[in-house]
Symmetry: C2
Subunit: 628 residues, 2 copies
């Protein structure tokens, strides 16, 4: 046996997880094998620089790559900093994963504004006692059951799940002919249980997000939310953004099955958590309604997603989908139904339909903007003539991506920033009140707004001057603003906002503002016509509306017209779960909502370019926004 073929042991500290791996494997893949989760927003392509790890014995690894040369400073390299996705194992090694590289527990927006609704779920339970068959009453089992359901509840022409039919004779006899049938949409028997179990009927509303998966467990007899579960989307190890994940399904044989499996795993984990909290058996969950963007929707149902990633970005299907839980592997009643809300277009998915449903914007006669901010931001404009939508690639900046010390809104993230007008020293609040590890999206907005307000950056976003090492300084020839000193941070390093970070925020906000602006323009509406702006998504929860206007993220309307609607997607999914009428409304919405493809609109480029300025190239667009 040659030495180069010996397996190597890789230990990940501080957790102590370890794995025996083949030589040549990247530390990132070794971490996956060891069950250690390291951030890799770019999908392990050496681009995001989030997978920094510390290794003392560099001789156990392959040498630094060009990606590492670009993303790791010489001082850092001297300390043993490597990118886990680039460094490959040569022999056994101990790896330290610093806090900022670990996948943390995310701060979830799990409760949205709930609208009152009439409880009328699609699944219902009916308990019946059947007469036993005799030689003078030889009616077959299924007809014995359906006749009883018809006689007791007027349900005619009921079908039955084929797998259930196979077990029907046994179930009826073991139950002594006293059973509870679960009926879906008054059309099909999906489950059958011995005795009377009609007092227990649950459903799951699922927000299947790119980064997070949230499940609400709903008691369908009362409409109450009984439990909540949430997890990071496990697909994240295949790439932070959806296009990376779609590319994976194109490049790898069986890649779609992997993505589907990960989506199912994530839903199951969140669903189990929600059930555990409520003390409910997952087998008592008979329906799940899923809201998610179109790519996640395709992943979950195993639909070919590759055409969502290339122009003209065509989904496989628009209408609401449903299939048996057992067929997807969702851990609920095996005959239960997993349904997805319909989608509008490739970049305006079932989550946007859920947003519209729960926010009620479609019922307003006044012009209202609804933004669901994320890596892709969906923008909905409801007005007297109808509803139009668009989607813009706002990038991961507001979720911490492409930002030097950016991170998601999890414990340790700075979520609010203000600058002292005189000293320019920052004051901040962190999630969980602990020492800061980095900045989440709302803090980035605050920081950029404050830097501009206090004259530290100009309208193009450029830092104007160097001040001192505690605020605005030059490092490795580049300007950066110090938010937190190393002795205050959880990482032992300064937390800074770089010139590039400011530019990233500008690009993100410009895309969103340009989308809003074009939607309004195409409908001959001015900013003054906007009666309200609703912001949905985890990002929006801590967003300062004044700062959002200051950086030019949203049109300049009176601040009291800007409202955060929380996790509107899950609220919409819950409405569809609890009410047939809401579900019909969703179907109707998906047909009614128009779609504007920004990449096909010749005005988008100029609009975007003008919106890169803070707040805008044309200050007249933001009459109320002034430097401090």
């Amino acid at each position: 046996m040659r030495a180069s073929e010996d397996p190597a042991t890789v230990v990940f500290e501080p957790d102590g997880n370890n794995a025996m791996v083949k030589q040549g494997l990247s530390l990132l893949d070794a971490a996956l094998t060891a069950g250690n989760r390291i951030r890799s927003e770019c999908g392990g392509n050496g681009k995001c620089g989030k997978c920094r790890v510390l290794v003392e014995n560099q001789s156990a690894l392959t040498g630094p790559t060009a990606h590492e040369a670009r993303l790791i400073s010489s001082q850092e390299a001297d300390r043993g900093v490597r990118l886990a996705c680039q460094a490959r194992v040569k022999s056994s090694v101990v790896v330290l994963v610093p806090p900022e590289s670990r996948v943390g527990q995310r701060k979830m927006q799990v409760t949205g504004d709930e609208r009152p609704m009439v409880l009328d779920p699609t699944v219902r339970k009916i308990s019946v006692v059947l007469p036993r068959p005799t030689l003078t009453d030889v009616k077959p089992d299924l007809e014995r059951l359906t006749d009883a359901l018809r006689d007791a509840h007027g349900l005619d022409g009921l079908g039955i799940d084929y797998d259930l039919l196979k077990r029907l004779p046994r179930v009826l006899r073991e139950a002594g002919w006293e059973v509870t049938a679960t009926v879906w949409d008054d059309a099909r028997i999906i489950a059958l249980e011995p005795g009377d179990t009609s007092a227990s009927l649950f459903g799951a509303a699922v927000d299947l997000g790119t980064s997070k998966i949230v499940v609400h467990l709903v008691d369908l007899l009362t409409g109450e939310t009984r439990g909540v579960g949430s997890v990071e989307n496990p697909q994240i190890v295949y790439g932070e953004d959806l296009l990376t994940r779609v590319s994976y399904t194109v490049a790898e044989g069986g890649g779609l099955e992997v993505m589907q499996g990960q989506a199912v795993n994530g839903v199951n984990e969140a669903l189990r958590e929600a059930c555990r909290g409520a003390g409910v058996d997952t087998a008592s969950v008979y329906e799940a309604v899923v809201a998610g963007n179109t790519v996640m929707h395709h992943f979950l149902f195993g639909l070919e997603p590759r055409h969502l990633s290339v122009s003209p970005f065509t989904p496989a299907v628009k209408r609401a989908l449903s299939t048996e839980a057992g067929r997807l592997g969702i851990d609920m009643n095996v005959g239960g139904i997993v349904g997805a809300l319909p989608v509008v277009a490739g970049f305006v998915g079932a989550d946007a339909v859920a947003d519209i449903l729960s926010s009620g914007v479609s019922e307003s006669c006044e012009a209202t903007l609804l933004l669901d901010v994320g890596t892709n931001t969906e923008i909905i404009l409801s007005h007297s003539d109808g509803i139009t939508s668009c989607s813009c690639a706002s990038g991961p900046a507001f979720e911490g991506g492409h930002i030097r010390h950016g991170m998601k809104a999890v414990t340790g993230a700075i979520e609010r920033v203000t600058l002292d007008p005189a000293s320019h020293r920052a004051t901040y609040e962190t999630i969980g009140g602990v020492r800061p590890r980095g900045l989440c999206g709302s803090a980035m907005i605050d920081a950029v707004a404050e830097l501009w307000r206090h004259g530290l950056i100009d309208g193009t976003g450029r830092f104007k001057q160097i001040l001192d090492a505690q605020t605005l300084r030059l490092t490795d020839g580049k300007t950066e603003f110090v938010l937190v000193q190393e002795d205050e941070s959880a990482t032992g390093r300064d937390i800074v906002v770089t010139q590039r970070d400011v530019n990233e925020v500008q690009r993100a906000k410009a895309a969103i503002y340009a989308g809003c602006s074009l939607l309004l323009k195409r409908r001959q509406l001015a900013d003054a016509d906007i009666a309200g702006i609703l912001v949905a998504g985890a990002f929006g929860r801590n967003l300062d509306p004044e700062n959002a206007k200051t950086v030019g993220l949203v049109p300049d309307v009176p601040t009291d017209r800007i409202r955060f609607v929380g996790n509107a997607a899950i609220t919409g999914a819950k409405m569809a779960l609890a009410s047939k009428k809401a579900r019909e409304e969703a179907a109707d919405l998906s047909k009614r909502v128009g779609y504007l493809e920004l990449s096909a609109d010749p005005l988008f480029g100029p609009e975007y370019a003008s919106a890169l300025f803070i707040p805008h190239r044309d200050p007249a667009r933001f009459p109320t926004v002034k430097p401090g």
Copy 2:
């Protein structure tokens, strides 16, 4: 290694098949392993005595069992005759399988009387050319397809097979947006092919019998039958009769899956044969309609059959069933639909519904009896007030079971017998015109009728006198009638009709006659009211109507009112395949046809006892039947 653990080689002559087997295995199982098919109507339980084989070196086998002592005469034992199911392998051995023990090619009744019908199949093909998606036309793939089908053919609200939806984006693009959709019941897209394939659309009508499986390949664009395939039901190695097979599913874990798999294999084999003959790819078959008795129907669909074998004999389902071919493993288009006609009751199955459908008895205002004779005989009485059915256990006598030299209607079977009035020597006809190997059912009827007609048996079926060694003789203390001398037979042995054989025929015909009689009685009808008797099934094809009356199998009506309708089941299946209206009629029939459970009728016992006589205990019932 101990000597007792050495494997042994078993060679089956004259085919020369062989297998290495463990010691202790029965010769019957060894034959299965070697791919040699030996008859075993009782399922290898030592009861039917059909698996006789010859072995010279008896020391290579275990000794004779009690079953063998009962079924094998001392002379036969001296010649080395053994039952393959009883003799177990001790060491390597050569086994001769005589012709009468081999599973032969059965004479199939594959073409029934076909009624003219309007061609309107449930599956149809539609070819469409779709506009390619663009940035200004981003309609999702499924809606692009369904909108085109709606615009071209007015089909609205079409669903799609979930597995097909997963492949939809790829199929549409690989086809360059020109595709042919196969639509089922104007409701669901089940297949999608590149280009215009609308000129090729086939269906399969399947008669899934206890003993045989027949498939007709039908061109659904013309209604023509293009090919025929038929095989022995491969389940037969698990028992000739259905109750033995049901017991197997109860006794063995996974037994139902085995039976289902064998049914699927048999259908596939017959289907492939039908397609091969017509030069048609099995993937061009988009629908199969199956007619079969209720047990076979449960086996094919994997429905729990055990309750069909115990009182009150309740089926799992009555209505027509359908599921995807891919789900069952039927070798046709993977999205194709396999449907079963509805059933009436546990012993009156989809085959009987098909019989009624194709015979048109339900449309007659006059009283008509329809008999589908087999191990279980279904009897249908159609009359002015409605349709009633019953089933009687007529036993396997008419298919050669429980008859010393009985065999199925395959090559070498005697199918017609007459006796010379003076010499009492038999003259006979065989299937295929070859040397005789045994008697099939119609010959048994002929033989018993002739024996009674010529005064050799009395009304109780008892042989009256011994004549001579060439006709009626005593062997081992038992009377038997010699039909064929050893020098004329293919087996080198005399072919005889024993006292027990005559009694078996009496029991079978008595059950059928009692069923007919009770059905008529319960409807206040007399024999004189019967406008027609239709006999269906392979048995009926060569049945002499005069002899059928003489033995008392059917009521005494003028001979010209007795008609053979051939394989009415497959004709009914074809009608349902080719015409939606016929399918609706079948659904309606299954609801309308009443069922009389004979075992619950107190008159059945006395009726049966009286009918055991030839032609009947009460000669007034058979006024036209006289001894010759």
